[in-house]
Symmetry: D2
Subunit: 343 residues, 4 copies
């Protein structure tokens, strides 16, 4: 089975990562590669690591260019993807790496994005309870944000098993700089970020917060409130998430470990590590894998869960390809069965 795929926003990091993965996917032929300001350039100028596609010329991101493919990946600024998706045929599989279709709540969308809600699509995090069923045969898929992927993988097993208090979740995450995109900003230049860490979007203002709470609340069956603080780390890729929650009365470490272990024991990409071994972002670099470990702090009555993902792979493009595989009935690991690059 061969699928024709178009990729928009190919000059950005998310689009480039989709191309990196698809270029090695056994069932895919890459059709149109589109961009906006970079249309007309050789891909080799913009993404010199993609040798097999280096002579391809980027074309303008238009419905005409994207139409006629079996699958269209949208890696566009929020707002743009909803507009284009609306004009693509219903039987084209449209996978949106942007935010437009992630939130179920129009109210939450409007509060955090200040624009009309475009509606929500099946959510591309197959490891969530019930998520795979909604992805099979789907023609529209919303790819989760990178932080929400790591946070939901960290805490959903505990909420789904009714082990955690919903009203006191604290998450602090460190992201590599590619999470901020391929944009020319002084605060992102290497001289500023190397050897330094800083927080940003502190105090609940980060747009990923409602998406995290949506996933955790769905798993808990009650509203979950989260305090989320993202930080910028001096590395190109990777997210280390430290997620903590109060545990319900009588819950001990064995109960916690059993719940997480059960949740991920059959997952091809999410790995609960052996007790005592903690994750490192380098272990998943460039791969679609996630690593999870937890500890119960009896002193503070909290579970502390650490997860690592590659923000561009499992956190964006890898999750998108994994979802495509499920939607189309391919092997879920097709094109993704490779390891992280370490050291």
């Amino acid at each position: 089975m061969t699928i024709s795929v178009a990729v928009s926003g190919a000059s950005g990091y998310a689009g480039g990562e989709v191309l990196r993965l698809l270029s090695n996917h056994p069932n895919v032929t890459i059709g149109a590669i589109t961009a906006h300001s970079n249309a007309g350039q050789r891909l080799g100028e913009l993404a010199p690591h993609l040798h097999s596609l280096s002579e391809r010329i980027l074309v303008e991101t238009t419905v005409e260019q994207l139409r006629g493919h079996d699958v269209v990946f949208l890696a566009l600024p929020h707002g743009a993807s909803a507009e284009i998706a609306a004009k693509l045929p219903d039987d084209t599989l449209v996978i949106d790496a942007g935010a437009d279709h992630r939130l179920e709540s129009a109210e939450a969308w409007e509060k955090f994005y200040g624009s009309p809600h475009a509606g929500s699509w099946p959510y591309g995090l197959p490891e969530l309870p019930g998520a795979r069923a909604k992805l099979v045969g789907a023609k529209r898929i919303a790819v989760p944000g990178c932080y929400p992927t790591s946070v939901q993988l960290a805490l959903v097993p505990g909420f789904a098993a009714n082990l955690l208090e919903p009203d006191d979740v604290v998450v602090v995450a460190a992201s590599g700089t590619s999470g901020a995109g391929k944009s020319a900003k002084v605060n992102l230049i290497g001289s500023e970020v190397m050897g330094s860490m800083n927080p940003y979007g502190v105090g609940g203002s980060h747009r990923h917060t409602p998406e995290m709470e949506q996933g955790l609340s769905n798993a808990a069956g009650v509203p979950v409130t989260i305090s989320f603080t993202p930080t910028l780390a001096p590395m190109p890729r990777g997210i280390l998430t430290t997620a903590t929650a109060k545990v319900k009365p009588g819950v001990d470490e064995a109960t916690l470990r059993a719940a997480w272990t059960a949740a991920y024991k059959d997952e091809p990409f999410v790995h609960m590590l052996p007790e005592g071994q903690w994750p490192a972002t380098s272990s998943v670099m460039g791969s679609n894998h996630a690593q999870v470990q937890l500890a119960f702090d009896a002193h503070a009555n909290r579970v502390i869960v650490s997860t690592v993902i590659d923000n561009l792979t499992k956190g964006t493009a890898g999750g998108a390809v994994q979802s495509m595989n499920i939607a189309l009935g391919l092997s879920e690991t097709a094109g993704l069965a490779f390891e992280g690059v370490a050291p």
Copy 2:
């Protein structure tokens, strides 16, 4: 006024940083420089950045070598410093960068270190309420740990002003690799740490936890419980601490900001940043400065406080020299009035 100073443990990062600061201190002459396994070597081989001391030869760390100086800095493994300090004259100012004399509670010491408690000394974090008075004229000073320095600077103003709930503090901190010391371990080599982040000592097992709770509890007047997770970041120096606590009923952001601003408005080294500006570790790199910023997350009813320090300077050697200055009646900023190195 000229003070003769001996520095032990000079081949490690803490001892080397003490020497870096003292080499530029207007009132200090550097006497004995001691080490253990590196005794007999040129300092220039071990710390090639210390050009003014490069020809100095390290001598064995013994009471005989350290005796006869006005001030002795101990940068030794815990256990070792208590033993040596006990043999130094009472009128010698002994400044211990190790852990031996930080904890007031013998029980906490024995639980986390498994050895008899050596007693507690005046605590070298002058910015704590009442701390300076205890340092003036002191002959024994315990230098705080690097994480405890950053966490106490983050939260003490709120507890001292009775604005925070004591039973639900969550702290996640990222430290540069020098915090792990100058030791040949595979998990610390550059190939392993560059481009990667990982947690460690998760679940309340980190030895700095009781020290943090001691300082916060003293400020609060009631016992404070903390969930602390340290992470290793790919940078040589710096600690970014994200500290969060539930606020008491009726407390708003203005009240919080006023308390922190008042606490630090006259401090030479601790800076509450203008509203909206967040700290970065690069801003304090190599300096004794600390930067603090906070936000109130009404949604989660939590204050989130970010602090940055250089773990080797304000977090260790700088705090030690600042405390020495106070103890001896020198200008508190003597030898420390320089800026961070950025970019």
Copy 3:
């Protein structure tokens, strides 16, 4: 066609990289995974990025463990591989990632290694003139060193085309820290290497020098003398080589460009970049690709050639797998047809 492969020295970086590549090779089943001091451990403890092999237990590196596979990869300290290879069956394909069988000259071997010469094997750099023919059907292959791979790819086209003077070659190369191996040394810890660069093995003492001169001399048909200076760069992987040589009378940039372009136009892994585009190590990170670019400095009458490779992939394990593919008559790109990981 399925090939059984054994990998020795799997706890090191070279062995780990061989496993990373083989785990995704369509024609390979991985048999014995051996180590020395780490025998008995789970691979997942030592190489947590290799999720598909995490439960495999390392066994002792012995002839018994390695015997009975179609292919044996040796990633051992020099000296060790010759001894083991001598005891393996003649019809087993033995691929030595160590130095023992790279040098044709016993004299050069003894001068730089101070031990008896074990003889030379077909050389695993297929891009060299005539190299592929010697690899087809070979049962013993010597994998080139990482620096020699980059230097020969940089200069061989010019020497083979008789465009360069043989007596004044200057090469300066920067290598990521993984080139120094997975060894616990203070000078390799992250605190020492991050944010810093330093030279080492200066003055012709580096053991890779005779290997480089061997390859360049064979291409030139006359002895080539090289001044080689390696430097350590603050990155885990990658080698950037800057190679310069005087050009022969009448040679201009067009002639030079034509020679390099012709040499690599049909190579699947070595890419002469479009004029004006210079290589970056990030473009080949984790991949078997190499990028090459040159400029003619008429003012100094020198050609300056820049090449980038991943020292662990094309520089070691990738070159080894590529050579295995050729030796066994598989597609040369089998298991290697993926792109670099960037950013």
Copy 4:
């Protein structure tokens, strides 16, 4: 003695580094701090590491703002400084960190900069033969470029002692990213530069080449030709220069070492390391120190010299302050007698 100083271009890295050094200079009061697009902003927003100056407001870079100070530092784009300097009083010490007044040859200037030559000023590299005498009492000083500083410190002793051939110098240097300035360019963002190295300005096109040849030719008494290749390294600061030249007949390592040792034995900031110890950029980070080491490669008949400096300190702002000290008859080390920050 107290000197009033104005600093222009304070929002860039060079200007910021001048302020960092002057803020700790015992004889200086900082007057006007000027910028162009950032005029009107708090310095604390642009350079948050400069705590002692954080409330200062940047003013527009105009002659009116700069006039009336004893010393004016110009850290402006080339072209701009010549224009402003021409309008400042003759008895004001003007120190230009830009390129406008470095080259003695109008022809070389016009070839590399394509604009009329503004003339040359006393050259702020005191370690060059005869340079100090020209700086004493000078009212106009041209600060050397960062690469030329490192290259001249590497090779001038050999040319001054007539030990090196003038026609075959090869230099490859690696610079931290701050050398590219504080500018928002995609190729400079952290995601692109971390973990990567790349060459640029290859083939003699770098504007620093004529400045290097000027200094080496003056020392040699004959024209020196250089092949220079700069590379970008993943670190914020520091330059590692590898400089090689053919030695004249009969010259051996002892002769070479004696010449370099003699040249720097009385220098406060340039250090010839003990034989066998090689420099690292981390050893001079944030300081005005330079480290030098050499080896004689008899095989290639070349001397290889390694030098390290901090491009922003000895390479720009530190050299500027050192030159100011000499011009004004202050201690040459005033405000510069501090060590590098390592690790």
